[in-house]
């Protein structure tokens, strides 16, 4: 049984880049990987420091019905309606969670579990109802197929061909997120660290929170086609948690998501090429391996510190 193929470095590392056609194809995949990792890493850093990692998971599940409904109403995979539907569903999801928490005896984690599983179930049911009629690819939304990025139609504007459209969309969203995060960095930092001080300065804490939720929904929706609903949470959590073993300031952690994103993408791409499996899953596995390594060897790791203290 050859379940794990033989590891041949020249095949794994050089074959994908052997011919110009392959380079053209694979560089698009890699670029998509970068953009997805950067966008979710940026938002994810704030999500993690706010102790809302599972909220990210919940929202990424919760947007499914929004996407399906948008798809059913507009009948196409156009980015605009999809984003709108997903953002609305994501906000509805987070509102419902907060509402349940405040107006019923159900505690926070149970209300999260109730809301996002129900939303997800609704989404899956809607997809199945329409299964015969339209070509919304369930597998694509659920598992993501980043390898198929180059198949997206080209972006043609004013008669000029600008190249792959989904790359353009993801690039725009990623750029928007990076710009917004760096513009409103201070607001995001203070509301995450000490909401009371932010409130006393007169900042609208709730609106900033909502803004972050919107960014979360945006990055989740955008990366959905590439990594799928469930692995979005990996891309949200892993970069910042891994970086926190190396750096102790938020800006450094945010910047660290860039090289980590590159690492995850290349690692995942070649791992998937070797094992011939899903690239998104392989990216998440690379991320977990990086995480484990940083837990053991990171300069700010707890294990490391206790070992260093003992001799003295």
């Amino acid at each position: 049984m050859n379940f794990i193929p033989k590891f041949d470095p020249s095949k794994v590392f050089f074959e994908p880049w052997a011919t110009p056609e392959l380079i053209a194809w694979n560089s698009q995949v890699i670029l998509m990987g970068f953009l997805v990792c950067w966008a979710s890493g940026m938002v994810g850093t704030f999500i993690v420091v706010r102790r809302m990692a599972l909220m990210g998971d919940a929202i990424s599940h919760g947007i499914l019905p929004g996407i399906v409904i948008a798809f059913l109403t507009f009948g196409s995979l156009e980015v605009g309606p999809m984003l709108l539907g997903a953002c609305l569903a994501g906000l509805a999801c987070s509102f419902s969670i907060e509402w349940l928490q405040q107006n019923s005896p159900i505690n926070k984690d149970a209300s999260m579990a109730i809301v996002f599983t129900s939303f997800f179930a609704l989404g899956v049911t809607l997809i199945n109802l329409q299964a015969g009629h339209l070509d919304l690819d369930t597998d694509c939304i659920l598992y993501g197929e980043i390898g198929l990025t180059p198949l997206a139609p080209n972006f043609i504007f004013g008669g000029n061909d600008f190249g792959n459209r989904s790359l353009w969309v993801m690039g725009l969203i990623c750029a928007a997120i990076i710009i917004l995060v760096s513009l409103f960095y201070r607001q995001l930092l203070l509301t995450s660290f000490d909401a009371i001080l932010a409130h006393s300065i007169g900042w609208p804490v709730k609106i900033i929170h909502l803004f972050l939720m919107l960014l979360l929904a945006l990055s989740t929706v955008a990366s959905l086609e590439s990594v799928g609903v469930i692995l979005v949470v990996a891309m949200l959590v892993f970069p910042s948690v891994t970086a926190s073993f190396f750096f102790h300031r938020l800006p450094s952690i945010l910047i660290c998501t860039f090289p980590l994103g590159i690492l995850y993408t290349f690692g995942g791409f070649h791992l998937a090429y070797w094992l011939d499996c899903s690239i998104a899953a392989a990216m998440a596995i690379t991320a977990s391996i990086c995480f484990i390594l940083s837990v053991i060897f990171g300069p700010r790791s707890y294990i490391w510190k206790t070992a260093k203290k003992k001799p003295s």
């Binding site: 998971d57 907060e98 005896p105």
Partner: protein, 483 residues
Amino acid sequence: MKNWVIVFGGLLISSSFLEAKQIGAAEDLNWLTQAERFIEMKDPSIRKVALGALLMGLSCGLIGSYVVTRRLSLFGDTLSHAVLPGIAVGFIWAGEKDNFSLLIGAGIAGFAGVCCLCLLKKFTRIHEDSSLGIVLSAFYALGICLLTRIQKVGYTDQSGLDSFMFGQVSALSSNDINGLFITLLLISLFIVFNFRQLLVTGFDPQFSKSIGIPNDFLQFVLWMLIAFCVISSLQLVGVILVSAMLVIPAATASLLARRMKTYLVLSSLFGAGAGISGTFFSFLGKSLPAGPLIVLVSALLFLIILFFRPEKGMLFCWLNTRSERSRIIIENTLKAAFQILEQKGFEENEITSLEIMKKRGLSRPEVEKEIQNLTTAGLATKNISPIDQVSLPSQTVMTLTPKGWEYACRMVRNHRLWELYLTNEAEYEPDHVHEDAEKIEHVLGEKTVRQIERLLQNPKTDPHGKLIPSITDIHQGNLPGAS
């Protein structure tokens, strides 16, 4: 304000059922006959599925009660994702879809997931939510990786594996039923034999440790049972939604139950109900998976109970505040009537609507309505006064009945007694107590009144020097101060 979210969700859910019917019709599958087929239960495959859903609902509901009360909901979610690589490995190991090896594999993976969580907690400063996210996504990614690999390698009998994502009722084998049955048996045995211990450890872990209950062991067994429950339910609802079955029925039960025993019973009943009706709905349409529908039904059940449960449900609360509000209005009118009579030195017993309008600062129709309310409650009688010397148009004149008089006295007493209590006992400024007494007078019970009267040694006047009607005045229908 946020109600619309829920309403919207409810509409969506109901519309999805409507859609289901349409699809059934479009595919030449009359949903009525389908429903008949389901209810008759003659078809062995239907029987099998219904039985499976019933067993799953029962066991998820039972163990879910502990998941929810111990705040393990998201832990359950993580566990359900973490078993995926185990299933894949079990499949590779057996070379086919053999339930036993899948179960073992899933069990080991679940156990490994729990171990990872413990390690992260012990060796890092990562918060719990992040570590749950890490374990969930790492294991899930590994599982997806293995599954896609299996597909590529091309095992002969791999079709069953996809079903683990969302469950596939049609592929339910009698082995699966046996598995569900064994799980239910194990869970019930565990709960029956450890009911007290579980109650104590859940409520007060330190105390239970001190009386020699093995907390950690119980916790571990509970985790393993949750894992078993997840694994055996996979065939029905799938990896992603199984955690919903652990949480939603139990959360629904928590809205109603006060004691753990009722909690367990209700939760398992809700689980079973949702299971059966979910499979029923999935039969109506041809392409509908049972898993998501089971979850949707239980979510709908949760919403219904949330809105309509007794005492704290939204509907009940709404009705309650409405009747409360009308009572307060009646009491305020009575009080105004008393004060008007008091101003006139209790010499007449008729009160005109104009006087009430002045006193309460309300418009004429509002006062007319208040008087009407008093009359229907039997607290006053009204008649239209003849046009007298003044150039006023005819107006309503109200006379309090003995019952109304007693009620009015009681309200005034409550108000003045409370003012006195606040100034004398709680040392509030006299100019602050009126507003507060306006609120308290409506909720002050007779028992508390006695208590205050004893504390203040049966006072006669309030801080503003006005008379406080005493209990004997009220019962004899006397005017205060007359006796």
